[in-house]
Symmetry: D2
């Protein structure tokens, strides 16, 4: 019953095997090895377009570096009020951009809406030196609320971005779960929808620690190597970072893993939906479930050792449950039983 987060999970066996296999012979460091050198091609195949790829060890780094490509120091970055880049990055985007301002916006179920973005931009007149200048829109796909943007929804945001000459960034910490949830191609919800830069996550879905900044416009990526190096993100034994991503993409492991996580979330969500006293706070479209329960029940579940975090949004008494590539149906069922049992006790 450990639903703290998908990064509580282990490393997928295929990725551990790839790491072991890569551990052979002396090679050039800092990306001069064969695995690192062929990584761009693998990504280009997945995205059906030649892309620039920079592997890094954390999602915070990927997001902050991506935003540094899109925003000057005097820029404004529109994002959702619940976004990880705003709430849980300890100011990493501000650090990497040299002090840009994140503009947190409301929107249902963690999703940014074009009108809200347009309204925020209208309050920051272009060319007026007194205010920061709108520079980028950044959304998470899947969102921090476990929902996903459809290709059309992304395209509508991209249209706002284009109109105001803003960059469009996708925080794809759970990109695989979004692709799996939408059953679309990676291209459809990235460059084809107008996305400029993607933070492509693997860690939460089976890697040990591997993410990638993916630039759909090669020119955008030119500064990336320097920014990464000076951020301390150029790892020396790069083959071990690259091979995680390679194994992750190979034979669609990333989608297989994500489909399983999503299926477990669905199982959890459906069961919760049937329980009186449990209310789903958001539609469950990926691998995160937000459910509202009586305070007493939450406390008892915690005492019982169930693993989850409390969430203040959208209402108190909300808890977050995250499923992962190796969540077992038995864990889901056990949790559901625990909830039922506690609700019964509370109600009696």
């Amino acid at each position: 019953m450990r639903f703290w987060s998908d990064n509580s999970a282990t490393v997928a066996p295929q990725i551990m095997a790839a790491l072991a296999e890569a551990n052979e012979g002396a090679v050039k460091s800092y990306g001069g090895d064969a695995i690192s050198e062929r990584l761009g091609e693998a990504f280009s195949r997945v995205f059906e377009k030649e892309v620039t790829v920079l592997p890094v060890a954390t999602g915070t780094a990927a997001n902050a570096l991506a935003l540094a490509l899109l925003s000057p120091s005097y820029g404004a970055i529109c994002c959702h009020r619940e976004s990880d880049i705003h709430l849980h990055a300890c100011g990493a985007p501000e650090f990497y951009t040299g002090g840009a301002k994140l503009v947190p916006l409301d929107g249902p179920h963690g999703k940014l809406e074009p009108a809200a973005v347009a309204a925020a931009i209208a309050e920051l007149p272009a060319g007026f030196v007194h205010n920061v200048q709108p520079a980028a829109i950044s959304v998470a796909q899947a969102t921090e609320c476990g929902t996903v943007y459809s290709p059309d929804e992304l395209a509508a945001l991209a249209a706002v971005a284009r109109k105001h000459k803003l960059g469009f960034h996708l925080d794809g910490a759970r990109f695989a779960n979004a692709v799996a949830g939408l059953d679309c191609s990676p291209a459809e919800i990235t460059w084809q929808a107008g996305v400029d830069v993607l933070s492509f996550g693997a860690t939460k879905n089976g890697a040990m620690g591997a993410e990638a900044v993916v630039c759909f416009d090669p020119a955008l990526g030119e500064r990336l190597g320097y920014l990464s190096k000076r951020g301390g993100h150029l790892v020396s034994k790069m083959r071990f970072l690259a091979v995680q991503l390679e194994a992750y993409l190979k034979d669609d492991l990333w989608l297989t893993n994500a489909r399983h996580a999503n299926a477990m979330a669905e199982r959890l969500a459906q069961a919760l939906a049937d329980i009186d006293g449990a209310v789903l706070a958001h539609p469950v479209q990926a691998n995160e479930i937000f459910v509202t329960l009586p305070e007493a029940v939450i406390t008892q579940l915690e005492a019982e050792g169930a693993g989850f975090y409390r969430w203040a949004y959208p209402v108190p008494n909300t808890i977050r449950l995250v499923t992962s590539f190796n969540t077992e149906p038995e864990q889901v069922d056990a949790f559901i039983e625990a909830v039922k049992r506690r609700l019964q006790t509370a109600g009696s």
Copy 2:
């Protein structure tokens, strides 16, 4: 004959085994797991003092974060002209400190001398707002020239630091090689010699990607977590970073590995010293050898596929050879043979 760098080497089998063993069960992320939680104790034992430890994935990050603890944005950091933080960090210390100035100084064989530091400080009067303010001394142990500071040499630098209220940082990317080379205790060349913060390297000596910022004064480390997180260096699946360091320290693996690398460097150095036409540029006290050879010989060795980098310092026609924890004597001997053969050809 692959002597590019010690980070060209593989991961030590003991560390790979520890990674595999840690890959079991769901645990709290971001350091909330048992392995991460007990890491501080392991380091405190090794250093014979309670220390604050922050694991990160790269040495660049460790150094930049350490310096950010010691220098304000308007600070000056005295370092050697050949130091990695000055030459090969793409400005990471400047980034993390908010724009401090590195003051590169000369010194024989990559080592900073107290007089040179004192002279540099004298040119930056304290309290004079027009110049940056001396804030820290940073030296590498082992140095970028493959030499090591004795405890007394470090203490002499620390005395300058104390006199001017500067912090004292050790870049220990090859700290194990220095300890092995000096046959001293880790404490002797760190806090007992007046060091405030150490970048403790493991990657170059058998880890996959694991370094640690070690603060000998706990108060110094209070800001570290935030600076690391906002730098994008807080990894989510922390157990896999922590366990590398744990395995590295366990049963003195770090020293065993370093002793081997040093022994191979010694073997290489002694053989080169006996060859007419090969001149060692620096004393060989750890696992790096800098040797000057005729240009034609260098070119031929390159053509032959020997792995090394050219170095501009101290003179042209210098190449750097680095041995690692798993360098085989046969590689060393083969390289020596190749040098002899090429010198003979060149001379004939």
Copy 3:
């Protein structure tokens, strides 16, 4: 009828005279002259406490430097949603703090309320490395809405600051107008109320370009000189900056000027309050008036050449009128007549 801003006004004759008088003889630059050296005493007398004073040329600089004293790069600064530091500084606080996050909060009539601040702080748990750390509260006195905080209101905010170990900053771009409006002593609404640092404005109230960062705790001010210099704010011919502030304080010119501006605002406010169709958006407690008028009337007044800016807050069709130390009653009356005339026309 030029009510654009109080910085549209000229320089007070007493200050122009002081500038001319200071223009005599060669003196040491960068504050080594007699006028600069005695400035601290003048401020200490005014504030009834020994204070550290740093003169700068702009209010943006004063605020950004003050906040850099109070917040680390990973800090959060609570401020009002309508605050100048958030809306009209183009990110200067972010720049000077190294990327801190401003947390804009709602509050009636431009005033921050303790409960709102406490709630914001509660969402940023101390010691949790994932979020920025609450570091400072910053309020404007007078506010950007032309209202003022009573000593008790400031003390209540200061209590929140103390409880959470935050710094407390006052943006006093219109500090004189606040003191005049409250008829209190400068000490009462600064250090006696718990304020740590004040941006003391003079430019808007008769100076040519002179503000001062005033630290009530000397220890806080130690870094100020360096931050100012590296920000490019240490002027060489400092006597001309210092003498403006000296003349400003002399014989209570600052209060005389402010009382006039406030009286003109009062005259304007009372007349507007009596006009059907004109609605005052905020209480008028200093020298700014926000009034809501029919769109047609605003357009006509603009066409007629009346000088003011439109304001989006709190509702559209709001305009801002600012009076200054040399606003003439005739201008006020002419404007009132124009409004009446236009309202009549619109209504007929």
Copy 4:
């Protein structure tokens, strides 16, 4: 006998008069007034080219902003070891560029030589992510040693800049003295010689506090307004900054002033050259004189109240004397007499 610096001098009467004259009527702030709006034209006339001009209050700000236009955060800026931007800006260029690295280079009499710059660039390979990337060359005209670059010397540096795609910046804190010294047109030693951005100084030559960033390529200047505002350098009562520059350029006041300062420097230099025991350290080509004297003589001159600063470069016992637009011949002669007298005493 006050030769501390040219910024020890007063404000030129013509500029004081212009300030008084501008002090009339309410105008739009932040550059919306008529004087500010016509300033670009005045500069374009002087430089015989349409230029972008941003007035600021200090030379530190002008230089730091100019360099921020030319260098990314991971850039390297080649400058002279004696340059003000390196030695006496407390890290302002590092701050405004986001942490770029200044590369201090040697060169005779404060002048950078193309070969030294080329050698420095060669050590920072382009495209190699481990080192900062050469981004700009910055030289002072006149230099900090009182010498000037000929148009050809500048063009030779510009050729290096162009070859490596670097920006070329001129620190013109004493630009007027250089133009006067060379008897050339402003265009000849700026854009015609390949300069991209000029820090145009006025403060040291008669203004109260007024400098300008001048961009010879308008595209370069697009970010300038934002960087300036967020640096706290957009003054509200801009007319008083603009009018100083206007009066400074009017009727060639700037050149008249500079010619006088240079003539006084020449008078001082010639007299010193004739004195046994006084050695000029550098050619005197503008308004600064560096002279080496016996330590005892320097001490006695100081005791006597003569105003100058000691300089560590090129040798100890060097003092710097700076003449200004209103230095009187009598002061020069009195100083010469004092030196002679003290030398006689010392020698007797």
